[in-house]
Amino acid sequence: MQGLIFLVVAATSGFAAVRLVTNKNLVHAALYLVVTLMGMAIIFLLLTAEFVAWVQVLIYVGAVIVLLLFGLMLTRAQIGKTALDRQQRWVAGPVALVLFGVTAPVLWRFFDGRTISLDRQSGNTEALGTEIFTKFVLPFEVVSVLLLAALVGAVFLAKKD
């Protein structure tokens, strides 16, 4: 059952990813990215990584896509009229193949035959929360300073006009 769901989701994600890079309309490409990222979220759920899955939905599907679409609306470039293609398929192809050739065997060898226990009641969100709020208190607070810097920087740049 899980294998079947994985196959369907992976096929949909893969198809959307191919359409994403071959699409001439950048807005459509962004919407295909939504499908790809949602597929990834479902795959994370299948791997019982609930927190990662919902962060994926919140941050990537929610925020990053919104930022991307607003960024597209902000450009003066005519979207969808001309193909935004740097014609570098001959470089991109081998690079992608090499990356796949390295990561796939490594992941296969490491995770082959491993199973995930489903008995845990609360999942890994609790473990993550305990780690963040007891061990990594300072890094956690530093994250807020980082976000503050991003916010102030963006406000400064936007108001300079």
């Binding site: 059952m1 899980q2 759920l45 019982t48 927190f51 919902w54 962060v55 919140l58 941050i59 929610g62 925020a63 990053v64 919104v66 930022l67 607003f70 960024g71 609306m73 902000l74 450009t75 003066r76 005519q78 979207i79 969808g80 489903l118 609360s122 999942g123 969100t125 609790e126 993550l128 929360g129 305990t130 963040i132 709020f133 007891t134 208190v137 956690f140 607070e141 994250v143 807020s144 300073v145 976000l147 503050l148 991003a150 916010l151 102030v152 963006a154 406000v155 936007a158 108001k159 006009d161």
Partner: protein, 122 residues
Amino acid sequence: MPDGYFGSYLTLAIYSLAMIGLVGGTLGLNRLVSPKVPGKEKMTTYESGVDPIGSGQSQTTIRYYMFALLFVIFDVEAVFLFPWAVVFEEIGVFAFVEMMIFVAILALGLLYAWRKKVLDWI
């Protein structure tokens, strides 16, 4: 109601499929039974009753982008609230203080944006 990890998500999946089926079915039925008399006027983009001018693509102001960016930053903040809520009872006051500092530092940014009149819509 199925139990367990996958069971709970199966419930969610069945619910989502039922919702998609309901909406899709209603819209599909509407499409089947409604009369269609297309015309040039009818095919124009609906723009609150005003005739649309220019193309659908135009450059927007940076104001929209600012709101999108504020949304992203507070979305990242919200992500931290979830594991915090899960372990809140376990850790107690310490966790509360930690999160208050976190939110206060981000509130400074919001205050800065407010004072710089980024939040005003002119």
